[in-house]
């Protein structure tokens, strides 16, 4: 139980770190951000 639950928790913690790293290495570009904002406001139509 300890190995299983601990292993799952540690693996997912590592994954969350990797996800943060990915976000830092490939941040949202201004162009992408503005197009997403426009899309979320229903713009572009």
């Amino acid at each position: 139980m300890i190995v299983g639950m601990g292993g799952t928790l540690v693996t997912l913690w590592i994954l969350s770190l990797v996800m943060n790293l990915l976000k830092k290495v490939f941040p949202l570009s201004e162009k992408e951000g503005s197009s997403k904002a426009a899309a979320s406001q229903g713009g572009g139509r």
């Binding site: 139980m1 693996t11 976000k23 941040p27």
Partner: protein, 382 residues
């Protein structure tokens, strides 16, 4: 001539004769099959699964049809995709294609709730072992706590195929009962102040490149840590990669529609085929249902308690209710959080945060199964 006619007529009534002489378990299971069909059709409880499972159960319990014998229709479906684990994996490709990991990527620490939500698996494993179930059967029962049908089927079909019918029906039944099982536990474990914590809107901060690389990185990292779970994680991430890359929309649509639908039909029928009365009606089936219930309750307990811990550590920025969504019942568990949150504050919108925890629960359930299988491999049990 007369003898031949009588012999032929006797052949016509054999099924009925069997049912009256030694077919009581079959009669009971015909009723069970009818109940599953009723729940699926009338109450719309997981109809896509319960209708084929219920019909398969009815088919296999009509005596002397030999549908689960070598060459029989249900046995063919079983050998085609359950005995070799193909069907659950194909369903995983479809699930990956349908899942948006965006809310999780916006707030990666929520993934830890997806780990906490798997506590029921390991807790139930201990209880099942204490009750005297052999190791591999205990693992297959505990995996009901993953709250994830394909994962439960994948593990059980490999290591305890004799329990497949009971484990699958328990897993899908409890998944559909999440809106009934979870709210009382959420209420008991949280204070009125915690239930109204607002988490704000989810900001859009994830680039398309991050979303594209996410499935590849997850496959690589988890595959290296727990290689026995690679088929599960690899297929769900394949589906998600196809969704995010945007250049194989035909494959993505086929995965989430046609392939998933056909496989679901065959899978349901084959699972129903494992519910033959004489094999299914045993005290251990009741034990499996009871243990499955314990597993899902403990998932919710651990998820909410971990949510409370995150709430305390972040100075009240995380609503503990979203912890209950750290299971794999997607998107049902997230909807339960939204409904419960709005019950105490109509202006509290927790859905996107709960979706993040819920997709974390999907990854968490697969990861828990992968870790467990890799541990068993390490111990030389498989």
């Amino acid at each position: 001539m007369t003898e031949s006619v009588l012999a032929a007529l006797s052949g016509l009534g054999q099924g009925l004769a069997f049912l009256f002489t030694q077919g009581l378990p079959n009669v009971v299971m015909l009723i069970v099959g009818g109940v599953l069909l009723y729940l699926g059709v009338k109450k719309e409880v997981e109809p896509l699964l319960l209708v084929p499972i219920g019909f398969g159960c009815v088919l296999v319990n009509i005596p002397l049809g030999d549908l689960m014998e070598q060459g029989g229709l249900l046995r063919t479906f079983y050998d085609m995709g359950i005995a070799n684990e193909l069907f659950p994996l194909l369903i995983f490709v479809g699930i990956g294609a349908m899942t948006d990991f965006g809310p999780l990527l916006e707030n990666p620490k929520i993934l830890l709730l997806g780990a906490a939500g798997q506590f029921g698996i390991f807790f139930t494993l201990l209880i099942a072992l204490a009750l005297g179930f052999p190791e591999l059967e205990a693992v297959s029962i505990a995996i009901i706590g993953a709250c994830d049908g394909p994962t439960a089927i994948y593990v059980t079909s490999q290591y305890a195929p004799q329990l497949l019918g009971a484990v699958s029906v328990a897993a899908y039944s409890y998944m559909s009962l999440v809106p009934i099982i979870q709210p009382p536990i959420m209420r008991v474990l949280t204070t009125p102040k915690e239930r109204v914590v607002k988490m704000g809107a989810v900001k859009r901060t994830v680039s398309s490149r991050t979303r594209l690389l996410f499935p590849i990185v997850v496959t690589f990292v988890t595959g290296l840590i727990a290689p026995k779970g690679l088929p599960l994680m690899g297929t769900i991430m394949l589906g998600n990669f196809m969704r995010e890359c945007g250049v194989v929309s035909r494959l993505t649509k086929a995965s989430e529609n046609e392939i998933a639908n056909i496989v679901t039909l065959f899978l349901g029928l084959a699972i129903g085929g494992t519910m033959e009365g004489h094999a299914f009606l045993k005290p251990q089936t009741l034990a499996i249902f009871a243990l499955g219930f314990v597993a899902i309750c403990m998932d919710t307990v651990a998820g909410v308690l971990f949510g409370k811990l995150m709430c305390a550590l972040t100075g009240g920025k995380v609503n503990p209710l979203i912890g209950s969504a750290g299971i794999s019942a997607y998107p049902m568990a997230a909807r339960v959080v939204q409904v419960q949150g709005q019950r105490y504050d109509k202006k509290n919108y927790l859905l996107m945060h709960a979706m993040g925890a819920n997709t974390g629960g999907q990854i968490g359930s697969v990861m828990a199964a992968a870790v467990m299988l890799s541990c068993l491999k390490g111990m030389g049990l498989i």
